[in-house]
Symmetry: C2
């Protein structure tokens, strides 16, 4: 049966990089008979400009009806003067919440071809392969009460609520333990249990869930130490489990260890494995429209989509191998360029991957 | 007039490293006539064990009466089973709050002698000199309501409140701008204004305060991007301004860039410049009692104390130069050891610094 992908290019470099992923998908459809249809819709600033909201009803309806979602990126300085409630980011947060995509999988893998692109010394990072599992629909991102008010002294005051309940922590912990079981059976849960009661509960529940996975070695780390250890000795980590806010910070740090935020895909899954897939990087407004963005993170997001949501490991493998072939052939977009390589633009990188499929 | 330092060694390696700083102070008193007296008191787990509380009244009274405070470190696994309200960390948070030490200055400096100890490539970090200004008595660390409860579904729930008002943001922003003025007039304020209303206010107020410092170039960065940029190109930063939680995470990451969390001092100041000084690193229970801890961060914290709270730049310079002389002579504790250097223990490093004074 034909499956459907809702394609949401978004803002900045979003449309450029999504176009390359679709080229890859088209090739797979033509040459390998994949039965997949795509339909595009607006999200983020692009949606606000046309519809006055970053998450129009028809976009949400399409995403809900589709079997899975491929997203580019949202946001940019153009929309920063807007009120908080209609900023592009609200589109992204809104779709995460509406689709209940609570499990965000963020791999940080250093491709051997890119060791030179990392700012860390080769002996510290080569072979790096971390999977960060970030809780995505709870915590301080969504907690209430939140907002701004005038306090009793007549001053402006801003407030947000970090909040998690048992079942929210439990379900993301299960995801993390199950992924750890398929990898090296080592899970490090990150919290700030020495200061924040909310994350004290986090630790408690993770320990409880851990009893069901005696084959996984569970450890705990305070978030400040984790951000330090990521720089000191990142290879000590295999799977990391974090809340929404800490995951936002640590996954960007981990991604950068690989020298290439432009390389890394991500998956955001609901409890049935339906998911939204997007590059870890943002909309990069500074380079938008210049055809120099790296499409690999988005192409690999498509691979993750096929693997996790459509159970098509064959096609996912094929894409991942094609990316490696393109890297082996020396093709590099500007963000991952190092001496002696062939510098290419967005579309040329897409072409190189397609011809390696 | 004789000035008084309250000395709070704390837990783990705290007593060992503080002892070395006091050796340095004694030498300065004897050889250069500094009129300073010290008095020790318990804090953290050490205080809990004797007094049943991590911040005994007499410790607080001493700290309040003294002209400034030198602290080692608190915490350790021994006290982790304890209830949150009496853990060693509460002693540290309590004294910060009671003394209203809202401005935490955390330099991340890479000593040229230690380039080899950094996990980052020399071209990325050599010459690194960042000053992180962290708000220390507000935000989610202290916000109320906080705690745990059973929700309407009968589930456990944990919650904390991130909250800042105008004057809290204003006073830390002034500190940051004034420090930026004395450095390279570049200030980067870190927030998550695209998601959290509280940090949206943070950004707004920082912009307002910035109008009073037209000579300082102000920029803003989302916290996830900041953690990435610290790894990608840390030398782009000069002074960074953060809230309490983000500062906790980013300052540890920045410290590690220098290859040596054992090297970095910090100052926590109140509005009159009275302060508490402590190494950035923790109590390192794994190496406590083994006489291998690096005392330099604590020795440099004493230097900061003399400079900022006692206005004695001469003695501060003398200490800082002595540390450099010891490094130039090749002395290295285990944490900063690299091939060809002379590995020394805690007391030997202290002696090397004293003899270079
Ligand atoms: C754009 C922003 C709302 C988002 C987040 O903070 O979650 C982004 O940084 C991410 O990590 O996906
Ligand atoms: C020990 C802990 C409470 C403390 C903090 O989180 O502030 C420490 O990590 C620090 O950075 O000084």
């Amino acid at each position: 049966m034909t499956k459907k992908i809702a394609v949401l290019p978004g803002d900045g470099i979003g449309p450029e990089i999504v176009a390359e992923a679709l080229k890859v998908l088209d090739c797979l459809k033509q040459d390998f008979g994949l039965e997949i249809e795509t339909e595009q819709a607006l999200i983020g600033g692009a949606a606000y400009d046309v519809k006055g909201t970053p998450l129009p009803e028809e976009t949400l309806a399409l995403a809900k009806a589709a079997d899975s979602v491929l997203l580019g990126a949202v946001g940019g300085p153009k929309w920063e003067p807007l009120d908080y409630s209609v900023r592009p980011e609200r589109g992204l947060l809104g779709i995460r919440a509406e689709l209940e995509l609570f499990a965000n999988l963020r791999p940080a893998i250093l491709y051997p071809q890119l060791v030179a692109a990392s700012t860390l010394k080769p002996e510290v990072v080569s072979g790096l392969d971390i999977m960060i599992i970030r809780e995505l629909t709870g915590g301080i991102y969504f907690g209430r009460p939140r907002g701004r008010r005038i306090n009793e002294n007549g001053e402006r005051e801003g407030f947000n609520t970090l909040i998690y309940n048992e079942s929210e922590i439990r379900r993301i912990a299960h995801v993390a333990f199950q992924i750890a079981q398929k990898r090296n059976r080592k899970l490090c849960s990150v919290d700030k249990a020495n200061v924040l009661e909310c994350t004290e509960l986090w630790r408690e529940i993770v320990v409880e869930v851990g009893c069901e996975y005696p084959d996984v070695e569970l450890s705990h780390m305070y978030v400040d130490n984790a951000s330090m250890q990521l720089v000191r000795a990142p290879k000590q980590f295999d799977v990391m489990l974090t809340d929404n806010m800490f995951g936002d910070i640590l996954s960007d740090c981990a991604a950068m260890l690989t020298g290439s935020i432009g390389m890394l895909p991500s998956a955001s899954l609901d409890k049935n494995g339906k998911g939204m897939y997007e590059p870890i990087h943002g909309s990069a407004p500074d380079i938008a429209g210049r055809s120099i963005a790296n499409p690999i993170a988005t192409v690999l997001s498509l691979a993750m989509l096929l693997r996790y949501s459509f159970g098509d490991a064959g096609s996912a493998d094929r894409i991942e191998k094609a990316v490696i072939t393109a890297l082996d052939a020396g093709y590099r977009t500007a963000d991952i360029y190092s001496e002696g390589m062939t510098k290419v633009g967005t579309a040329e990188m897409g072409d190189a991957i397609v011809s390696a499929l």
